[in-house]
């Protein structure tokens, strides 16, 4: 009886995804114990909630997810507009909306809502895709991205933009258009530069030359590269990172936790982390390849690449090759909201895997 129940309970869970995710979560706890032990309990609670959310989503079939795509998207956009009008200002940005009983960050909803909507959109288009179809998709993508960018929240808007672009890419946007767009955006860089906020420009300049302001704007990035570099091949050992333990690393339990990892476990540890993310992405792409419907395939592909984006942007910024934007290390950084979103994504992948194509065409 109990065995049966247990079997029913673990049935929707994909073993390989669960193993990789579990290993990352354990690593995260280990890091937290070193960087910020007082947050261990909260992080454990966050992980439990996130796991529950993952399990729930793993049990929702992709067809049902597809039905939810449009409502979630519309709700997200509605809340974004409400935030722009009535949101709370914190640290100079209008990102939070107070609904009276709870404060929400609507942009979080669109991190998964955006790829869901576009996957739904392309699933509905059964004809050959005409330019106007692509154009409509771009409109659907640009509206929320623009709203988030205006908050301003460059990090999240880029994440949402990229997740939408992945869907469009997987839906088969012709290569010549892709290359054309790439060339055009490179040409438009100076224009984009003019549109950035001052603090955003500062971040880019800081990445290029952090030593210009070592105690101010450059402090984060200098200290995190020192942490990683001084980790060497095998690291200084768990709990022994001087950068971490002496408070030189700012935000060491959130966006900069990778620097703690690099300092205490060295290149060896970094490779383990890269391998884990590669395995996670490989598994995700496999699931995408065997998705039963256009919706399932596009969603799985885009979700998988979201993990890639998070991991690449975070490790890139902490190691000093990308400007500092607020992107956490996926499944590792402290913080409940991001953790729940990412575990939900894992849950969706599991659901798609459970409803895969059984006959290989």
């Amino acid at each position: 009886m109990i065995r049966q129940l247990w079997a029913r309970f673990i049935d929707p869970i994909d073993a390989s995804l669960m193993t990789i995710t579990g290993l990352l979560a354990l690593l995260a706890l280990g890091m937290m114990a070193s960087a910020s032990p007082e947050r261990m309990n909260t992080q454990l609670l966050n992980i439990s909630v996130a796991l529950a959310a993952m399990w729930v989503l793993a049990n929702i079939p992709p067809q049902r997810l597809m039905q939810l795509a449009l409502p979630i998207y519309l709700l997200g956009v509605f809340l974004l507009i409400a935030t722009a009008l009535f949101g709370d200002i914190a640290k100079g940005a209008r990102r939070w909306l107070d609904l009276g009983f709870i404060r929400v960050q609507p942009s979080e909803l669109l991190k998964l809502g955006m790829p869901m909507l576009l996957a739904w959109y392309f699933d509905k288009r059964e004809t050959l895709l005409r330019p106007v179809d692509w154009f409509l998709a771009v409109i659907l993508l640009v509206v929320p991205v623009g709203l988030i960018m205006r908050q301003p929240d460059l990090g999240t808007s880029l994440l949402v933009l990229s997740s939408g672009c992945y869907v469009i890419f997987f839906a088969g946007l012709p290569w010549k258009v892709i290359f054309g767009l790439l060339a055009a955006s490179i040409a438009a860089l100076p224009l984009a530069w003019g549109l950035l906020h001052d603090y955003q420009r500062d971040r880019v300049l800081t990445m290029l030359d952090p030593e210009k302001d070592p105690l101010g704007k450059g402090f984060h990035i200098i200290q995190s590269t020192i942490a990683i570099g001084s980790g060497g091949l095998f690291g200084k050992g768990w709990g022994n990172g001087t950068q971490t333990q002496l408070d030189f690393l700012p935000e060491r339990h959130t966006d900069f936790i990778f620097a703690v990892f690099g300092e205490e476990f060295g290149l060896f540890g970094n490779i383990v982390l890269l391998v884990l993310y590669t395995m996670l992405i490989a598994r995700g792409l496999m699931i995408a390849a065997n998705g039963a419907t256009v919706f399932a395939r596009l969603l799985a592909g885009a979700i998988t690449l979201i993990f890639f984006t998070y991991a690449f942007v975070n490790m890139g910024m902490v190691s000093g090759i990308l400007p500092v934007v607020g992107v956490p290390l996926p499944l590792v950084s402290y913080g409940g909201t991001a953790l729940v979103t990412l575990f939900c994504a894992i849950g969706m992948l599991m659901s798609i895997q459970n409803n895969r194509l059984l006959v290989q065409k």
């Binding site: 059964e126 050959l128 997987f170 333990q245 690099g262 190691s319």
Partner: protein, 629 residues
């Protein structure tokens, strides 16, 4: 309309997945290359920088702001001194090292104890003092043998010093080593970065309340360090900005005269300028030496201070709430006029007491004072007058009026931890007691409230504020100790403007009646002996707070065991025409107010108005007569 071929689009999708996988691999390869560059190729460079980090970014603690009195006399300052400090992580055998150090310079057991305690509170790589305040000779001796002690350094530091020692300690307060609880406060205030190098924090008094004004802004020094761990040169530095200076409203000389007037007696005195609320003196006796706390107080001194039955750590001026005794009477009389319960000339016949509900409330004078009007009731401190008055007024009127002049409320003075005291009222009793029969207010209880006994309990600063408000004809100013804060960088003065809390609408003729009666107390009443020969006119009132109830016993309190003796109280303002000072004095276990408290007030007022210095502590007037409630 052409439909898509599912097979074809699946093929295309899988192609795109492969491309995506390729991009992922390339991107991760770039990251890997970056890691190899940082962690293998540049490893030595970053190791050096991480190593340097510990030493190179040195926060420079700013000089703490000074505290000076209204005339510029320095009450809290800093001086440079040397400490001997150990970084435990760089010392292989700590015990041995300390033993060897003890051969070079004196290290007492209490130094070792303090070091051990600090080690538990700090991290291993932090530098912890083993000896403070080294003499020049000791520094020289250590420097000559420095090579033997890696991880041990002499550091120049600034120490807080209270040059006057055991003086004004309750108002100045003290700083001590920054504790974890202090760090929480710093974090809440958003000053964590600014406190990176700070080791001290205000723990009491003005040092505590004005911590963030006094602290200043930390600077940073980038120091190049050689292989031996010693600083070679400074590469760059941002100078710290010293903390802001506090200039007090307090007159240190007056404070000193007041403290000396107490002699060996315990008690408190608060003197206020009625027209601004500026505190001229805030005394709590006995005092303690705040210098003891600066480097972390040793266990023995801490126990001595805390276990002494003199209780020197209590700030009596703000925290000793006692029945006001007869000093309550002028305010009762003013309430009677304001609420129309008495006229000044209305007299009662005092036959020696007041009978209420079968209980006889005695007057202190056998046979009573005869015919007593309002003036006489204050001058001779007639209890019977106030027993009947209280009965006529009722508790609600009394508590409304007394609450209005700030009794039983925190005054808002700029020192933390002020006591509220007790303003008796029906609501108060309801809250205070659990059992229904105790929650009820009994009319009989109002009778002793009328002469300032019973549940009444007010702090000296509340009495001083009430007296100042009376002296100022009902306009109440918030009592404060700091006159202005001088910005260390710009020299700009931030004035603490006198803040009128409220203007109570009393009739001036009523106020004049009360003031006149209080002047009578000094001229011909219970305060006359203490103020004999005064060249100014002053108003005052003596009082006695019952500490221990003597039911029915008719004994002179002076012969009782000291701790059972009543507290002596005195309130006063002077000059009567245009008061420049209003004060309240409390002398613990000293008997009558006239005996002990009034002579102290005399010395304080003499100095403030005439600049006259006494040559001995205020005398005790053993002959003085006073109203025993």
């Amino acid at each position: 309309m052409e439909f898509r071929n599912p097979q074809e689009s699946l093929e295309q999708f899988r192609q795109r997945l492969t491309v995506a996988g390729g991009i992922v691999l390339v991107a991760f390869a770039v990251l890997l290359a970056r890691f190899v560059w940082l962690q293998i190729v540049q490893y030595d460079y970053f190791t050096t920088r991480a190593e340097e980090n510990r030493i190179t970014l040195v926060p420079v603690t700013p000089n703490r702001g000074l505290i000076v009195d209204r005339n510029g006399k320095v009450l809290a300052r800093n001086y440079a001194g040397f400490t001997l400090e150990i970084t435990p992580s760089r010392v292989p055998n700590l015990e041995l090292t300390i033993d060897e150090l003890a051969e070079v310079l004196e290290i007492q057991p209490k130094d070792r104890k303090r070091f051990k305690k600090l080690r538990e509170e700090n991290k291993n790589f932090e530098s912890i003092p083993i000896r403070t305040r080294l003499s020049d000779e000791e520094v020289a001796r250590f420097i000559a043998r420095r090579y033997r002690f890696p991880g041990v350094e002499v550091k120049a530091r600034l120490f807080r010093q209270y040059p006057e020692g055991e003086f004004a300690s309750h108002l100045l307060g003290y700083i001590g080593r920054l504790s974890e609880r202090d760090e929480v406060k710093v974090e809440e205030a958003g000053f964590t970065a600014n406190y990176r190098g700070t080791e001290h924090f205000g723990k009491a008094g003005l040092e505590q309340r004005y911590e963030f004004e006094l602290h200043g802004t930390s600077g940073f020094e980038q120091v190049e360090v050689n292989a031996g761990g010693h600083a070679v040169r400074t590469l760059a530095s941002t100078a710290p900005t010293p903390g802001n200076n506090l200039t007090l409203t307090v007159d240190a000389e007056l404070q000193k005269i007041a403290e000396q007037a107490f002699g060996a007696r315990r008690g408190a005195l608060v003197a206020i300028d009625p027209s601004t609320g500026g505190i001229l003196a805030l005394v709590s006796m006995p005092t303690y030496d705040p210098n003891l706390f600066v480097d972390g107080i040793d266990t023995q001194s801490w126990m001595d201070l805390n276990e002494s039955d003199q209780k020197p750590m209590i700030n009596r001026a703000l925290n000793s709430a006692n029945p006001p005794g007869s000093t309550f009477k002028p305010f009762m009389a003013l309430a009677a006029l304001t609420y129309g319960k008495r006229t000044p000339n209305q007299a009662i016949a005092d036959g020696g007491g007041f009978n209420f509900g079968g209980h006889f409330f005695r007057d202190d004078k056998k046979g009573g004072h005869g015919s007593v009007d309002m003036y006489k009731s204050i001058v001779v401190s007639c209890n019977t007058y106030y027993y009947t008055l209280a009965n006529d007024m009722g508790i609600d009127n009394i508590s409304r009026f007394m609450g209005d002049i700030g009794l039983g409320k925190r005054t808002g003075v700029d020192i933390d931890g002020e006591s509220e005291g007790v303003l008796p009222s029906q609501e108060w009793k309801k809250k205070r007691f659990k059992r229904p029969e105790q929650q009820k207010w009994y009319a009989g209880e109002t009778i002793s409230i009328g002469i300032g006994q019973g549940y009444n309990a007010y702090t000296p600063i509340q009495l001083a504020l009430a007296t100042a408000t009376l002296a100022n004809n009902g306009v109440m100013f918030k009592p404060h100790l700091v006159n202005y804060i001088t910005d260390a960088r710009s020299g700009e003065r931030k004035m603490i403007e006198p803040q009128p809390i409220k203007a109570i609408s009393w009739k001036q003729e009523h106020v004049d009646v009360i003031k006149n009666a209080m002047v009578g107390v000094i001229k011909e009443g219970t305060g006359a002996r203490a103020f004999a020969g005064a060249t100014y006119s002053a108003g005052g009132k003596t009082g006695t707070a019952q500490v221990f109830s003597l039911k029915g016993a008719d004994v002179k309190t002076a012969h009782l065991d000291e701790k059972f003796r009543d507290h002596a109280l005195f309130i006063a303002f002077a000059p009567a025409e245009k008061p420049k000072i209003a004060l309240a004095v409390l002398v613990e276990n000293a008997g009558f107010g006239a005996q002990s408290a009034a002579p102290i007030a005399r010395q304080v007022i003499d100095y403030h108005l005439l600049g006259k210095r006494p040559n001995a502590p205020a005398p005790t007037d053993e002959e003085a007569e006073d109203s025993l409630p």
